[in-house]
Assembly symmetry: C4
């Protein structure tokens, strides 16, 4: 990596500083926790109130959570909040493979903690907010839709994080817009999860993992396709902006 | 505080200039007034028209009010509009404790004025737009949800105001997105107040403070937790950006 | 005006260049035309389809029109689109009084043209999209609400345009958010017009001006109050940013 | 074009580099694919679930797709996603006429691919998501509305892309806001297509082109009018910003 700017070197040095790694993992934990609170919580309250939340609000709440979390905490950990996002960044070499397991672990724990808290507050009468193929749709249709939706989501994340686009913090709205639009049209088919962690939490506390495979393999395949598309569109890697977006810029600001 | 930049010193000098303090307090009064007009007004009009406003609009109106107020008046006072936000900034030392009582007083007066005006215009037939635990939910559930929601709200406010994030005016949309998502999924449980002032105004004019404790202690506990989380995520204080966001930058611009 | 920067002098010289004035007036005409097409058109299509547009969409369409128009044409004329906005800017001395009559004329013609086109396309069966006090509300209540809503709208416009806030193009979203929130909660009361031109177009083609006084005097009073509030909050005038926002920056860019 | 900056010359040199042209065409293909997936997919899922998607979500999903696509891929190809947008940029000389046929071809192929994939996943029971004049409206009314809507859309695109406005990446939200508002009020009349490619895909797979003429000629006429209006508002051409927005800035960033 000859030719790195001082700012680049500082980014890498800080990223290798393990005293900051716990902050990053906590950020992934807390962000995924907030995401599952909104996504599964909306479903539970909707069930308990016989539909007073409504389908549009159900899918809007988690999309807005991702916008808020990226804006308030994206600089800490990159705000992946989703195992297949961490994997996609690693495939593009914007993120180190050896950090992926801990990120995914933090995301899964965050999702599980959210589902346990919702169970504690609301009991089991409202269900757990699981995502599953909707009435009238087959597992295969849900699987295909999860591949398709996640391909678009990860394309949006990789593109909006790239230096070529130079959209800065507006990338939060690109990602949030995508999550919302996917939910608006495809939630009745598959729940529009696009995120193994979001599905894992409710599946765990409801002790029902019968359809979890759809939400692990579908998003994974979709994200790998998106990495290929990103390569066609912009060549290898997301540039310095891509690395910054993937890794967060924790420790690099001088604003104190 | 050696090493302060000239801009820092100017910020502090202006903030200590009491001739500007009345502007700040008026801004907190007016902003909270507009917030309660929209939040309680939506509820009152919805009651008077037998539901023609609808639940999504009910929770969207106050969230958009906060976005508009932060963008048009955030530089004057910081646009806290909420006692627990003033307290959270003070706990992080981004805001002086001795200013907190007057800020809270201005917020409570603004909320009360809004509720009195709504009562004058619409009479008492539409209720006063109180927040209270929804049908089918216990006080304890509403209390837990107010803690949880406010923890996320104050985390968003502190994070988006920090220099580490560097999102500038987009922080208004982070905060608005959070308030909206909280209302979308949790309004049926507790009213998704997250704000003692917003609850105080309608409680005062309806002479019903039976559940006010939930909306004072819940948001307070949630905001203290959020300050702790912010410390884990970013260490002590919000940096210069955090102080500017908390205090407003009144008097520091040279745009005349 | 000694001490003006070269950019200031250029702004003033261009603004006095009458060859550009026709562009500005055309922009006010076209922007108000688009606003009334969306606002009144939504009402007409809703009537013709027995409610398939829905109340939330009815109030969202004009708010989004204002966002789009400010972003695509704000630099030409300031995108007032509303007589009381031109008057408020003039009261603050951000805009010349002698330009106000032509601006208002362009706005009224734009509104009338929109209403005539809608009448031509849809006939009179769908009504004309008039704003009037809603069922169950008195003229006086509608009048009070128009004062209150417009006070908030003009406060948002003046504040977001001020240099103190420094929100740049995001002011479009502050204004759009305000228009949307006002419609969401108060449309059932008064139609949430806040704009004499928006009400004038449909009233003209329906030959029914029985309630026009509400939508002329209410917004006018509200905007005068807002100018007073802006003076309390930020002192006289909106600074250079305020003048630029009020006047547009037509002819000052060098992007060719 | 004497006096071009180095950055200008680089932009032109890169745009003439045919090794980048395939990326641009792929971007137009993929963006239009995603647009039709959301627009037609929402309609199909709505039909299959007897209306559980709902009209507001139906029109919001494609608008958000355009926002996401512009933000994540606008720099590659300009993200036209619509034949009449390519034509409008060419009419304004912001885009070369000789590139128009390939852009349109890529858009049509993208739309057809989306419709074929939706047919493969959902079968024909849900229809194909065609746009057609709504119940109670004539072809002529739909034609007039498509002219009117597209005139506003292309005005928004040309204006937000111009250097005079200087809104940067926020142009994505101007365009998305316009598409959404058009759908919100006018979808019951004509489907609010404004885009021959969006209509072509579903028409092709349903082997029903009976009303395709409306959605080719209407948007075409509307976009020509918009180019004339843009000339009145800002004179010839969109300046360097307009060219960059029309062409994308692929290859001009130095972010690696």
């Amino acid at each position: 990596h000859l030719g790195l700017s001082i700012s680049d070197q500082r980014l890498i040095r800080n990223f290798n500083d393990t005293s900051l790694e716990n902050r990053r993992l906590f950020a992934e934990f807390f962000g995924t926790f907030l995401l599952v609170i909104a996504a599964a919580g909306a479903d539970i309250v909707n069930t308990l109130t016989h539909g007073s939340v409504g389908r549009v609000a159900l899918v809007t709440a988690p999309a807005l959570t991702v916008i808020a979390v990226i804006l308030f905490m994206g600089a800490v950990s990159g705000a992946h909040l989703n195992p297949v996002v961490s994997i996609a960044f690693a495939l593009r070499r914007d993120f180190s493979w050896r950090r992926v397991p801990a990120y995914i672990f933090a995301q899964l724990i965050g999702a599980a903690a959210a589902s346990l808290l919702l169970l504690t507050i609301f009991g089991s009468a409202g269900g757990s907010g699981r995502t599953e193929p909707g009435p009238g749709f087959t597992d295969l249709q849900a699987f295909a839709i999860e591949i398709l939706l996640t391909c678009g989501l990860v394309s949006t994340i990789l593109g909006a994080a790239s230096g070529a686009q130079n959209v800065g913090s507006l990338s939060a709205f690109a990602v949030g817009s995508y999550i919302l639009l996917a939910g608006l049209w495809a939630e009745p088919v598959s729940g529009a999860s696009m995120n193994p962690a979001r599905t894992f939490g409710p599946d765990l506390v409801s002790l029902n993992v019968s359809t979890l495979w759809i939400y692990v393999t579908g998003p994974l395949i979709g994200s790998v396709i998106a990495v290929g598309i990103a390569h066609i569109l912009r060549g290898p890697g997301g540039g310095r902006s891509g690395r910054k977006a993937a890794q967060g810029t924790l420790g690099t600001d001088t604003d104190h």
